[in-house]
Amino acid sequence: MNKKLIALLLAAMMLLTMLAACGKKSGNDTTIADPAAKKVYYTCLGADHANLNFQDNVDTPSETPATYCMCFLYRSYPDESGLNFHYIPDAAAELPIQIDEHTWNIPLRKDAHWNNGDPINADTWIYSFKTALDPKLANRMGGNVANNVITIVNADSYMKGEGATWEDVGIKKIDEYTIQIITENENAQKDICNHFYSREKTPIYQPLYEQCLSADGTTTSYGSDLDHWMGCGPYNFTTWDYDNVQIYTKNPDYWLADLFHWDEVNIRIVPEMNARVELWEKGELDDLSPDAKTVDIYIDDPRLVSYGSLYVDHIDINCKNPNNPICGTDAYRKAVYHSLDRETLAKSVFGHMEPAGWYVNTQAGLLSESGLTYRDSEPGNRIEDLVNSWGPYGYNPDMAWEYFVKACEESNIDPETADIEILYAIDDNSPTWKACAEYLEQQWQDIFKGHMHIKIVTYAGMSATDFKKTGDDKWDFSPNDWGRGASRTYPYTCFYYYRSAYSGSPNNYFNEDFEEQYDYCESIKTGDYNTLLEETAKLEEIYLEHVIQCPVFQDVSFSMFSDDLVLPVQTYIPGFGWGTVYADKNV
């Protein structure tokens, strides 16, 4: 009996092997039969979205399904010229109507509907906003509904359970097809549109949502997969194979269907840059966003376009490490500031980035009334001149050494015998910050003559914020984990995270002058723009005076589009992007 069993087992295995071998061969012949008439947009993402609950999902990959599959009250659309953009009503019937200083009416489209045909009306929107702000659900994106571009009256207070009831919140139903928004401040019409054009302000499908709500009303499984979710946008989410592929097909019933040209959007999830380049080289992608390492290959390619992003990347400095005797002094922070060769770091270590010895990015202020960015303005230039007067982008090894000596003296240490170890904590998964740490480690041996040296420590399995919470003695430097981009309208907002009032502060150094100045900027933000720029410069000056954290480079993004792709824009439009969702393809 045993003999037969073994023989049978062997035979089965052989069969499987042969099957597999045959499979491989025949696989070659059955390559994709191309549906010629279909316009398919092939693209890729580095990561998949975790779920489709846009009110709770904080990760940017969830932008994609929201853009393709949801309707908004308003959406942005490029001008004829392709150089600018404006807002068009989507689920709204027309642009918001101002009733008084703080009150806006939003008339709704009568033919808006879910993919299953159910109507989308004032009740849908009210229910959606109410859910987003629900204090029991504690949706993580709820705060953005209450306060982002505009601040809705009492919404924050309702959400945090601080007394306001739903009746107090400035979101009201006027009739079946009109809702009313009451804001705290005076706003422009486009601010209202802008506020409602983001994923957490898309509608949710009530019957399904209520089904998915847990009994105690604290959790929901809405959006966890396609069966627990309903779309209402230009495309249907037909396939979602998590971490692998997303396929969207055109929804012909959508009321603005004419604006969208793709028959299908095929998005692969490809975490490895190498694989993305491979796909691009094989012509299997319509666009590619090379990272700093791969952009070298395409640097001469006429298709390559670059644009500054909203972020200045920086290093957080710990001022409370008990093992570092000089960490509490301003001189130490300045020594660190002047020791960074930002030009080399940005151009070579991070690769093709813009060095920055300051913190307000080049985009800040671009969408202000005059369109003047802070960095191009006179006050902004003054700060740049100040920084460059110390050395290129603030890099000056001699000053670094002087400040180090000063820091030692202030802490009663003899700089000639000092031997201070600086813990540079990096995430194992970030190769560029690793390279930066290794570069600095080497540089410092010359700059601080061995009296202050870097020791690189790595952590895995947690975010930088988590790591910092493990103890003040565990780190001195850490790459930024939460970049706060300055808003394109109000340049000073990038300093938001570095105030003591902000609960999740990424660092532990606070300065009263700085906070006063920030509050002052906040109080005059709707006033004269030039005054605001001037005050922002003062804020940045204080920031540099105390090196609240250490700026390194202005982030630059790169993109390439295939020749077949017809973009609706002439160039990258800040605040709008490339508009690939409205793009077309030459077939």
Partner: protein, 383 residues
Amino acid sequence: MIYDRNNLPEELLNLPASDFEALYQEDIKDEKFQTKPVGFFKDAAIRLTKSKVSIIAFIIIGIIIILAVVVPPLSPYGFNDQNISAKYLPPKMPIVEKLGIMDGTRVLKNRKVSGLSDTDRYPEGSIIEYFNVVTAKGQEMCDVRVDAYMLAGMPDGEYHWFGTDYLGRDLLTRLFKGARISLLIAFFSVLTNVFIGVVYGAISGYYGGKVDIILTHFAEVLDGMPYIVVTILFMILFGSGMVSIILALTITGWIGTSRLIRAQFYRFKGREYVLAARTLGVPDRTLIFRHILPNCVGPLITRAMIAIPGAIFSESFLAYLGLGIKPPNPSIGVLLSDGQSVLLQYPYQTVFPAILISVLMIAFNLFSNGLRDALDPTKRGEE
């Protein structure tokens, strides 16, 4: 004539000794051994040296160890000497460069033809040839073969045999520094494993009974945990670094050794010589380490040798998952995983560490195979 044995004639009974004479004059002792007695290790060594493969493997291991010791201090570049303008240089080796490989050139794809004359970007003489000219979007594009060393502004006579990495560090130096670290991790983890295994196995095997049952069951339960799972958990908890890698590899690594030692102890503890020693009042410690343990040395060495490539593999495996040793120190695994991320642009970054780890693993495997055969007591005295 036949004599009765008991009634021999007088003259025959009282023969004088002088009547007898030795037939041979020389000594009639047995012939002396022509060879010296061969001890266990000598025998093993003889058999090991008879196997050509083992010798070659041994030589290769030796060379790599020597290089790992010698290259980092003797190289003109330190393992952490950076030259950021010379990052990602291709390999360039004297003599070999004449053959057209490892000559420090690289093909840059998709460059503007019009840009080639820009001497700021391409210093004079750095362009060797350009080809594949195509026109795209009104631009003439081509592929250029350039002398990467000239392009980076390196002086003549600068040679990075294996090229440089993302900070312009010499890869040859880093590779052998990395090999040194990987080997150290391997040796120390195996050493720790052997130590724990020997103590655990000896206690378990020598005392037997309840102690043995408890210890064996504990080891069995521990052994059921997949080492990958345990290692990853350990690394997450204690963070990356050389010491934690060594410890992580030790958690379940010692079980095999302890099992082997236990079996050996069971075999030898009942032997007469052990009983004799015990009767003479020799303490347990001496019995274990002086009298029984030496019997296990052969299999122990084999086992340790086999475990070394395993440890080297585990180290690079962990580095691939992002749990390697701390920068700026290199290890073979760290170099491999760094290279993997730029595999398409700079394949040589992966090639050299890959070759080194492969050769090292093959050599260790061949050598430990040879060693196993040589130390196998059943084959003793063969041939």
